[in-house]
């Protein structure tokens, strides 16, 4: 990935600002609604570029600890899902729930951080 500026993150930010400042005030109805949705989607991309790497690393470390095996994020999430379905995690519910809650909280922090505050 080139490191020249504007970076990919800065380009996404520029597109989001263009939609918010130039497009949104000049459209109405369904188009206005979809413009707001698009702005939110780009904000998700920006948050993911900024925080996603650290979240992935932490999730991977938790999965390795919980499952006692190695692999990448997709492999270990697949293994954990199969283990839950097979009832193999029933004996470690506390640790499982702690991991799942942290993972869900991270997902929300990217997808819709306002959801974590009241009246969000």
């Amino acid at each position: 990935m080139p490191t020249d500026r504007p970076t990919a993150a800065e380009l996404v930010e520029a597109v989001r600002e263009f939609l918010a400042d130039d497009v949104a005030p000049n459209v109405e109805g369904q188009l206005a609604f979809h413009t707001r949705v698009a702005i939110n989607a780009l904000a998700i991309v920006e948050r993911t570029m900024a925080q996603g790497g650290a979240m992935d690393a932490a999730e991977l470390a938790r999965l390795r600890e919980l499952l006692g095996q190695d692999g990448d994020l997709a492999e270990l999430n697949g293994a954990l899902s199969r283990a839950i379905r097979a009832g193999e995690m029933d004996g470690k519910r506390g640790a499982l729930l702690e991991h799942l809650r942290q993972t869900a909280q991270d997902k929300i922090a990217l997808a819709n951080p306002r959801y974590l505050t009241p009246r969000g």
Binding site: I84, L96, L97, I108, N112
Partner: protein, 347 residues
């Protein structure tokens, strides 16, 4: 700048011709169609508002709900014959009639629209005054008197339509609790995206299936704040019956308690406007019997998980290309909210 062609304008001119012909059969030749507008909301169906003006000048405010003209095929899933549990527009209209006869507040359905080369299948209803936007119902002063009554009233209404005798119902698909759980799990599996949080929800529910309850009746299928019509006095209509099916009636009550329709008013579990005890009091008063809150808790968990799977369905409707849509793509990410809610519920 040249004006953009408004696709709804062309569609509305074509629909106006269909409506003039159809309404002439009901109200007489010369009936005019005025103020025809497409209402927002619901990408999967078309809802139109208009007034029919009869030859003697009488005005009838009406709503037409029909299948979309541009997309006829609902999403299908590996291992799920028939796809989502849902009904066609004629069945939906018929269910509104039956619910009204059973004493639930619903719009009156006077007649139907047959599919032909100019239109998809639909049904008409008398247009009622009221607010359907959940956020406004919870926030605006105009509904301050209505809000404290709503939990009881939605419970009462549900008891009325859950009580409709099975032999009166049109043919519908349905599943008992264990089957419905499997239905949504199979849909999730069809996306080949492992989801540990939802797996834990399925596991939790499977271990507690005895809490589901035994009854098997008509389910509204999308009974929530957002699909109810409210005026200053309280509940005046139960809308949007397209997800109706046969199943455990507690599913409707638990769905009403899912956090996503509280619009931030989380201290009021039922739709953001009331408590479970009021909901169950209303249900009992409506003739539905006394329901154990533990059953509602089970179905609230089920509903939260089901909403997560429905978010995935919309996300993959975009990803798989059945309907490319920024709105569907964004809803796909709302699965994270339901996963969070689910894990909070399972303390």
């Amino acid at each position: 700048m040249e004006a953009l062609q408004d696709p709804d304008k062309t569609a509305s001119e074509q629909l106006a011709a269909v409506l003039r012909d159809r309404l002439a059969e009901e109200y007489g030749t010369g009936t005019e169609i005025v103020a025809l507008v497409r209402l927002s909301g619901g990408a999967s169906r078309e809802t139109w508002s208009f007034d029919a003006v009869m030859p003697d000048g009488t005005r009838r405010p009406l709503i037409l709900k029909r299948d979309p003209m541009d997309r006829q095929v609902d999403k299908q899933f590996e291992g799920v014959p028939g796809g989502r549990l849902a009904v066609d527009r004629w069945t939906e209209g018929r269910l509104l009639q039956l619910a009204g006869e059973a004493g639930a507040p619903v719009p009156t359905v006077p007649f139907f629209l047959a599919k032909d080369r100019r239109t998809t299948q639909g049904f008409f209803s008398h247009r009622m005054e009221g607010e359907a936007l959940g956020r406004r119902i919870l926030r605006e002063d105009a509904y301050a008197v209505a809000r404290p009554k709503l939990a009881f009233q939605v419970g009462h209404a549900a008891a009325r339509f859950h009580g409709i005798a099975r032999d009166l119902l049109p043919p519908m698909r349905g599943l008992p609790a264990a089957g419905e759980l499997q239905h949504y799990r199979t849909i999730m599996d069809s996306f080949h995206q492992p989801h540990a949080g939802f797996e834990y929800g399925f596991r939790w529910l499977q271990e507690r299936l005895e809490l589901a309850g035994e009854r098997y009746t008509l389910n509204h299928g999308d009974f929530r704040n957002g699909n109810i019509l409210v005026n200053g006095d309280g509940l005046c209509g139960v809308l949007d019956w397209e997800s109706a099916h046969l199943g455990n009636p507690n599913s409707d009550l638990g769905w009403m308690c899912v956090r996503s329709w509280r619009y931030g008013y989380h201290d009021k579990v039922v739709g953001g406007f009331g408590d479970v005890s009021e909901l169950l009091d209303g249900y009992e008063a409506g003739g539905g019997g006394r329901i154990d809150p533990a059953e509602i808790y089970f179905w609230q968990v089920f509903g939260t998980l089901r909403w997560g799977i429905l978010c995935m369905i919309l996300g993959f409707t975009h990803i798989d290309g059945e309907q490319r849509s920024i709105e569907y793509a964004a809803i796909g990410r709302r699965a994270a909210e339901t996963e969070y809610d689910l894990l909070q519920l399972l303390e």
